[in-house]
């Protein structure tokens, strides 16, 4: 049993302690925005926020949470896709297949929480998500547009 704060709501789940947060969100809570891509913290499709910082939820055991943390998923990033990152993504029509994009958007939004005006070097260091469709060039433009919009 664990009680978690997810997107501003308190949620109780009955789950073994070693279950990664990704699978708790997807299978117990029904929030499937965070995706499974690798399970070993390599691809970033599972990125969510814990207290505003980006976290790869596929390797984050639910037992490591105290229950006090604010967990935010793509579903809770904004009510109506109005977060500057989502707006920039819409304006530049970034997603292709879209499977990596919830993780990409959360990684970018998380970076901007800590560093509202990242340099290209910051982006290179902090955004290491994989996108097999290859939206990376537009993602960089999107980050810059999101900074302008914030």
């Amino acid at each position: 049993m664990a009680t978690l704060k997810i997107n501003g709501k308190s949620v109780t789940v009955d789950v073994e302690d070693d279950t990664p947060l990704l699978w708790v969100l997807r299978e117990q809570v029904g929030l499937t925005g965070a995706k499974y891509g690798c399970g070993i913290a390599q691809c970033g499709t599972c990125t969510i926020h814990v207290d505003g910082s980006p976290v790869r939820s596929c390797v984050y055991p639910v037992g490591a949470l105290s229950g006090e943390e604010e967990i935010t998923t793509i579903e809770g990033l904004s009510e109506d896709a109005s977060h500057p990152v989502q707006q920039a993504w819409a304006e530049l029509d970034i997603p292709q297949c879209g499977y990596c994009q919830p993780g990409m958007i959360m990684a970018v939004a998380g970076m901007l929480n800590d560093n509202p005006n990242p340099t290209d070097e910051d982006i290179d260091a902090e955004i290491t998500n994989i996108c097999r469709c290859g939206t990376l060039a537009r993602v960089r433009k999107g980050i810059k547009l999101a900074v302008e919009k914030a």
């Binding site: 499937t32 690798c38 070993i40």
Partner: protein, 737 residues
């Protein structure tokens, strides 16, 4: 609403209805809700479809039926643009839906081909899709004309409104769609002159973006249904091995576990996999990892051994001829000097971001699946075959794909999911492969090598060229009936003469050579190959275009001028090459290291110029890419640009990191830690020149991949004097030669 009417025709759905399943995916391409202040049409009966391609609601919402799959390349939006153009409808009112493959079968394949690959999504269906839309428009106009008692020829259409010329009366499409649906289709339609296009050629935003920004988009891996169980599967790690035994009792009491089952080999005899079915996937996967399993048999294949076989093929006496002409022996005999190089391409995995998956429901009455597939009809056939049920009792619900790249045209995972669902009739079972399974059990980009030799005369002219490919044939493994007298002509993509095979007319060589030979020593390892985005064009572009660069340098000629000298018969190929040279600053003395590549494939002309730097430690930085493409007609320029950019990520990821190797019959690279993909730090700026010359329909999703690696490899030579002839670059020393 049309979606409802489509779905209600599913005769087999009895089982589904009886179990009262709520299915969380059908909204994925449905129109968004009506606005609060919109007129209320609820008293009116819903309109029937105008025809198979188009349904129009009373409120003018146009639903376009899309047979091809959307897997990221924007095909859905492009096809909708084609329909909207000929329909003269309001683009803002357009939405889309996938008619099911079962519905296609019941309607005598009215939507024709569902297969999405070969960059055919738009170019392979543009004619009949546009004709369908033009027919629908004619019926709408006729319905309005009938109502007004005027000749249809006096009416015009624009933006979903029909106007009668002399009276000025108007009718919206929604108001006449019901009447139009009762009319006979016109016997003949005339398509618009491309000069009159208003929607085709426009940089429209994609129709499928909104839900991809909020987590709402449902992929196969996300499907939730009432009572659904989840399955994790492990396939024999070794090629050709089968399941000997497993000890279910060791895991049966683990949390959530419902059943542990052997799974039949979809392509052969016996069982070659085992699956755990549990309440949740995480539980299933954990139990599967703890499950004692014994495998038997299999092939002790290793990449190193196979390389020796490929090397033998490079100089073998016998080889299939793909193209050639002139007198090569004479040219080589008279050479002032010979140039020779050998290139080596590894196996590569598609590595779709979304691992393989399918959800299946089997009942006595039928079997249906929810599946991200590139080929809905092949998936339907697989459901029938695996379940043993007549195809009429089977159905496939297509879902947007989390990447396809050719992998999801194969039906292996569909078979498996049906077999798992048959273990628990009446309960939907979602089978999801782990990333490790997806890496190990791919249909890989084939492995080939090439030995290329060229003769130069004293003036540095290329007088003879022999390009020998040695290696794996995709067709021999997957579609042997498509071989012609044993020859796999697809191996020669981009190198073929015109007229050898109508299906490969879009993959011909555009260079003119006096004396040349392109041949293939087929050497097939026991590894299954597949159609991997760009297919054989990718390797062939490296072989041809890196070697053209080697020849130019050996001849002391400018690589641009050297290429253009052989492109006089193909002004369109010369034009894309010249365009990237001009824009990139080719030939300027700014000290930048640049490399070029030009190819023709999938019916499109593509070229690239790459700029790189290699520092003293050998670290490569790809600084800038200029790319040009001439696909004939450019349906949506901003999406073409996105595909060109994405093609560099796909092609350069392969060049930098992509390599599947075998030891003891098992794949060694099992996740992204050992099978890396390009990150944003590696990604150059891409400047895309779209130069549609009109008059033909070329592909977009694949051709540019082929020019990515050769342009960069040639630039690396310009920077370092070093030739990289073996991919991936990974750990190779790039320091100055």
């Amino acid at each position: 609403m049309t979606k409802a009417s489509l779905l209600s025709r599913r005769g087999f759905i009895v089982g589904t209805g009886a179990t009262g399943l709520t299915i969380g995916i059908l909204a994925s391409c449905a129109p968004s809700g009506t606005e609060a202040d919109a007129p209320d049409y609820s008293d009116l009966p819903p309109n029937d479809e105008v025809n198979a391609w188009v349904h129009i609601d009373h409120d003018d919402t146009v639903t376009v039926r899309i047979a091809r799959s959307e897997m990221g390349q924007g095909t859905l939006t492009g096809l909708a643009q084609l329909v909207a153009e000929e329909l003269d409808c309001d683009w803002d009112k357009v939405t889309t839906e996938y008619p099911t493959p079962g519905e296609n079968l019941r309607r005598e394949r009215v939507w024709r081909d569902y297969s999405t690959g070969g960059s055919q999504g738009i170019r392979g269906s543009q004619d009949y899709v546009r004709e369908g839309a033009a027919a629908a428009k004619a019926m709408l106009i006729e319905a309005a004309a009938n109502e007004w008692g005027v000749p249809a020829s006096e009416c015009t259409s624009e933006n979903s409104v029909i106007t009668h010329g002399s009276s000025g009366r108007t009718a919206t499409y929604g108001s006449v769609a019901g009447a139009a649906s009762k009319l006979a289709p016109p016997l003949e339609v005339t398509l618009k002159d491309p000069a009159d296009w208003k929607i085709i050629g426009q940089a429209k935003k994609r129709l499928d973006t909104a839900d991809k920004l909020t987590g709402k988009q449902v992929y196969g891996a996300d499907i939730q249904m009432d009572g659904m169980l989840n399955a994790a599967i492990k396939q024999a790690p070794k090629i050709g091995a089968s399941l000997a035994s497993f000890d279910a009792s060791a895991v049966e009491s683990m949390p959530g576990v419902k059943k542990v089952v052997a799974v039949k080999n979809p392509f052969g005899e016996g069982n070659n996999a085992v699956a755990v079915i549990a309440d949740h996937w995480w539980q299933a996967n954990k139990a599967l990892e703890a499950l004692p399993i014994e495998w038997q048999g299999g092939v002790d294949f290793s990449t190193a051994e196979f390389e020796a076989e490929l090397d033998e093929g490079l100089t073998a006496e016998e080889a299939f001829v793909g193209n050639g002409g002139g007198d090569l022996a004479a040219a080589f005999g008279a050479a002032d000097r010979m140039v020779e190089a050998t290139y080596n391409m590894p196996l590569q995995n598609h590595a779709c971001m979304e691992p393989m998956n399918t959800t299946a429901l089997y009942t006595e009455d039928g079997c249906e699946i929810w599946c991200p597939t590139q080929n809905g009809e092949a998936a339907l056939a697989a459901v029938s075959e695996a379940s043993g049920l007549p195809i009429e009792q089977c159905e496939v619900h297509k879902i947007h794909l989390g990447g396809g790249f050719g992998r999801r045209g194969m039906p292996d995972y569909v078979h498996q999911s049906v077999m798992l669902a048959m273990e628990i009739p009446g309960t939907p079972v979602k089978m999801l492969w782990s990333r490790e399974e997806s890496m190990m059990h791919g249909f890989f980009h084939p492995t080939t090598k090439a030995r290329v030799r060229g003769s130069l005369d004293a003036d540095g002219n290329l007088t003879g060229l022999h390009l020998r490919i040695s290696g794996q044939s995709i067709l021999a493994a997957l579609i042997p009936q498509a071989l012609q007298n044993g020859v796999d002509y697809a191996t020669f993509q981009g190198l073929l003469p015109s007229g050898v095979d109508p299906r490969l007319e879009d993959q011909t060589l555009k260079y003119s050579f006096d004396n040349f030979l392109v041949d293939h020593a087929m050497r097939n390892p026991p590894v299954r190959p597949g159609f991997w985005r760009g297919v054989n064009l990718n390797q062939n572009a490296i072989y041809l275009e890196c070697f053209m660069d080697e020849l130019a340098h050996a001849a002391g000629r400018d690589p641009l001028e050297f290429r253009l000298a052989h492109l006089s018969d193909s002004p369109l190929a010369a034009a894309v090459l010249q365009a990237v040279a001009d824009k990139s600053g080719w030939g300027s003395d700014d000290g930048k290291a640049r490399g070029l590549c030009v190819m023709y494939g999938f019916g499109a002309y593509v070229a690239a110029c790459a700029e790189v730097t290699v520092d003293d430690d050998g670290a490569l930085s790809i600084d800038r890419i200029v790319a040009a493409t001439d696909p004939g007609y450019a349906v949506n320029p901003q999406q073409i640009e996105a595909q060109v950019e994405g093609s560099f990520v796909y092609g350069l990821s392969a060049m930098l990191y992509g390599e599947i190797t075998y030891e003891g019959g098992e794949v060694q690279e099992r996740n992204f830690d050992t099978y890396n993909s390009m990150r944003i730090a590696d990604m150059p700026e891409v400047e895309t020149i779209i130069m549609p010359s009109g008059g033909f329909w070329g592909g977009v999703g694949e051709p540019t991949i082929a020019v990515a690696a050769p342009a960069v490899l040639n630039a690396i030579y310009a920077a370092t004097g070093k030739r990289v002839r073996q991919l991936p670059i990974k750990d190779q020393d790039l320091r100055n030669a």
